[in-house]
Amino acid sequence: MSKVIYSSPENLKELFQLLEQDQAATLWAGGTDLTVKLENKKIKVSHIINLKNVKELDFITASETIRIGALTSIRKLETSNLMQTEYPLLAQASHGLGSWQIRTLATFGGNLANAAPSAETATPILVLNGTMIIKGKNTERKVPAAEFFRGPGQTVLKQGEVLTEVELPKLTSDFKSIYLKHSLRRSMDIALVGVACALRLDGDKCLEARIGLGAVAPTPIRVPKTEQFLTDKTLTTSMIAEASRLAVEECRPIDDIRATASYRRELVQVLVKRALTSLVKDGGSDENTD
């Protein structure tokens, strides 16, 4: 007979009361990471707090900034018109996560709090300079996405705290963005390497470059030297090739069950090059129609 307790708060107030009463409780969103861990006996649970009925955390709103609630499903991010127009890289990354059946259940907050180095939505958030809103019973703090991830499966979240939303500044209309992923299978496989890229372009001149890499270091990372290198450059084929070599130097991949470190380095070079090339092509065609 199971001794596990189950609670299903309807709002944040109830949620924080429960969290205060039981420090050992497990926050359960889509459960797509947790259920698998539970099946494989990698975690023990004594008290499940279902987040899915905390409806106030399920939203996407746009005013000066765009705010996405932690309970927003990956499927919603993938299909939202706002995401597709404002942040193509986040919509594309969401589309690449698992299968339709997984994306219906999986949440944005769960993907970020789970903090896999390969987490699909993490690199877009880094590239978009997102701010994580973290609430406790009587506390609220804002943490830049760049400081949120601490290591594989580790974040700055403390016991009793909940990631409630991510706030994203809008991109000016001269930004173009893309997310590319390479995995062993087309669907349902975590990325061997993921690349999130946003460029502010004037024709084929790069005014600002932001590149995030997933699955090549203990956390998702940005590659500042490569970004610096690209800034104010005309993005010729040789410039792009040089930048993708630089990006390789900035990552620290490991050998694991899916791929060797050296194969991952190859992938970084190929994917960064592909991402930059396709954005410049898009930018160029825009210029022509102006």
Binding site: M1, S2, K3, V4, I5, Y6, S8, W28, G30, G31, T32, T35, V36, L38, E39, N40, V45, I48, N50, K52, R75, G98, S99, W100, Q101, I102, T104, L105, R186, S187, M188
Partner: protein, 157 residues
């Protein structure tokens, strides 16, 4: 501690007691007898357990039974009409030879239903993308894709 839940499956309301870590797929198959839904990997990888929950395809092996409280679930048994007629998607799967051992079929058919509801006339690429979370070890997929396209054409007529 067991939790009382109520859910609607294929139009009928059920009330039962479940352990918090029990999965929806086990409730459907073992407690309620809807064995049409298959369980393959139990880890979200294969899609055999796909059902529609509030109209969206989900891997029922990843859903905690209490999380299905208040939800409307449709399994493959729910596609057949009252007088025993099969759904056009099921007909197409049979006529196009999209079923061999049949283990993946209930999941494939549920995902295909969800796709055709959203997008009545998908392209071949869109079909492949939609069913990419459903593994089949027998057919090599082409006949399944053909069946979904066939079902979509039937709708057009």
């Amino acid at each position: 501690m067991k939790i009382p839940i109520s859910l609607t499956v294929n139009g009928d309301k059920f009330e039962l007691l479940v352990a918090p870590t029990r999965k929806l797929v086990d409730v459907l198959r073992e407690d309620l007898g809807f064995t049409g839904t298959k369980k393959g990997c139990g880890e979200g990888e294969c899609g055999a357990c796909t059902v529609l929950m509030d109209g969206e395809p989900v891997s029922s092996c990843l859903v905690l039974a209490p999380q299905a409280h208040g939800k409307t679930v449709v399994t493959v048994e729910g596609l057949e009409s009252e007088n025993g007629e099969l759904d056009p998607v099921q007909e197409s799967f049979m006529s196009k030879g999209a079923i061999q051992c049949g283990y993946c079929s209930p999941g494939m058919i549920m995902t295909s239903k969800a796709l055709l509801k959203l997008n009545p006339h998908p392209t071949e690429e869109e079909v492949k993308d939609a069913i990419s979370g459903n593994l089949c070890r027998c057919t090599g997929y082409q006949k399944i894709v053909d069946a979904v396209l066939d079902a979509s054409e039937k709708r057009g007529r």
